[in-house]
Subunit: 333 residues, 2 copies
Amino acid sequence: MRVRKLSLTLAAAAAVAAAGMVVAQDQEPIQPIAPPAQINLGLVELGKKLYFDPRLSKSGFISCNSCHNLSMGGTDNIPTSIGDKWQQGPINAPTVLNSSLNVAQFWDGRAADLKEQAGGPIANPGEMAFSHTLAIDMLQSIPAYQREFKQNFGKDKIDIDQVTLAIAEFEKTLVTPNSRFDQWLLGRTDALTAQELAGYKLFKESGCIACHNGPAVGGNAFHKMGVVQPYKATSAAEGRSAVTGQEIDRFTFKVPTLRNVELTYPYFHDGAANTLTEAVDVMGRLQLGKHFTPDENAKIVAFLKTLTGDQPAFQLPMLPPSSDATPRPNPFK
Amino acid sequence: MRVRKLSLTLAAAAAVAAAGMVVAQDQEPIQPIAPPAQINLGLVELGKKLYFDPRLSKSGFISCNSCHNLSMGGTDNIPTSIGDKWQQGPINAPTVLNSSLNVAQFWDGRAADLKEQAGGPIANPGEMAFSHTLAIDMLQSIPAYQREFKQNFGKDKIDIDQVTLAIAEFEKTLVTPNSRFDQWLLGRTDALTAQELAGYKLFKESGCIACHNGPAVGGNAFHKMGVVQPYKATSAAEGRSAVTGQEIDRFTFKVPTLRNVELTYPYFHDGAANTLTEAVDVMGRLQLGKHFTPDENAKIVAFLKTLTGDQPAFQLPMLPPSSDATPRPNPFK
């Protein structure tokens, strides 16, 4: 028994040595995703309903989940989203998964946190095309919502702060722990293949890690898109300068999280890259001045696919029915 | 103990007598919804994914669940549905709940069963605007779908029959047993209030029951819309005559189920009635030549709300990600 244990340890050490890694996974520039803590479950249940409720849009057809679809990595998997009356959105919908880890929300960071973000699309004429006042009128007309808001907030009147707070609380639960990469970080040395480990080594040594680091493997800083070579975007979005007014921030975007990146195609703020292979190639050339060989590219892609974690698991929520007093949406007016 | 039991029985009998009912609930023209039987769970899981997968549409945005939303009574709660590029649908989306009990599918019964129905919207240019060939190409390009189809059908090639069979099998599970009305039918005499029982009595005595009967309280026959007075539809749909070519079937539609009718607003094939009160009033006048008083109307509405059953409860499905070979939808082309 003792011999067997020893040989396993030696084998693990050999595998680690072969991949050129040290075992000190707690020294890595990427940290495991932590399960959510300090969560108010009453608010989560309310926020979950609101997240799935298309009555928060003018048409009665578009919910948060339409563009941040929790069956599809928290995205819509199309280059730019579809808004009210099929308007084309200006930018790729970022994943809602692990968005609580972001330094700020939206690609340009114009919302400080999830609560501030949640109010945006509801009132954006190109997205849900509603207004906060109309959204509150709708909710206030539905007895089961009235009761659930009152239970959570202790007030008779629903307001937009309650709505966005509940949605944000639900979104805080949308973290994806337990990816194979996290299992490896936490000491399960056989969780990654040699190719995946080699990809991680390349990811670090090539400089990808300079922007994509921390628990979300991104999401924690703003960087210019097109450092070594300019990026020819198919979108007119100008990035962080739209928020700061500073020319130096032009074409600077929040670094996207690479968690669940296997699920969140297409890539970049304009959704122009369809595959991870393409995204890694473009990132290498434009941000790092590196031309990855097909073999190097495949290794990095293999590593990136180890970042897919446990997806949020919950029952499809049932929405309380409208009352006779609820204004009825008509999407064709 | 014996005395108490006796007094309860007397109280129940008195309540029943007050509502003018007899206890022989197994003689009623409405039968309880039975839980689904002979279900293939492997097919259900596959069909559930397909039901939620917007990649079955040209845009990558519209799934079965978009218009038959299982968070909202299996409908979209708008007068007529939104199709590809925001096209206005010609008719109100009928609920998918308990649709396995329908004599045929669609308002005009043009599909014999759920399997035949499921292929329709995918290829309808005004709805999902895809084609069966493109849908199969998409599915075949996704390894996890390939495996799941092979596990269920034992073949290497996916075909449209497999797709529609799986969706239909999932839809067979979407029944809603255990409504308060069913509890009453099954002998729980206190499951309904006196007002609800009075509403049921009116529903039967006024003649509503002539069309709305059986386990689904409808769904089992075609009848003309506008028997006593003509119905002025906001839709151009001509009903069953479009299928049979018979003038006598003009403006004849499948009688909708009244199960979960509290959730499936707006009402009628054109979605023109926003509330149950309005629907009961119109039905009384046009189909039966009856003007229900506000009190009678309220009683019938109270009865109708007892038909809301247990909604299908399951985890939001996770869709397998596209591969590099999967054609990418672009909804704006």
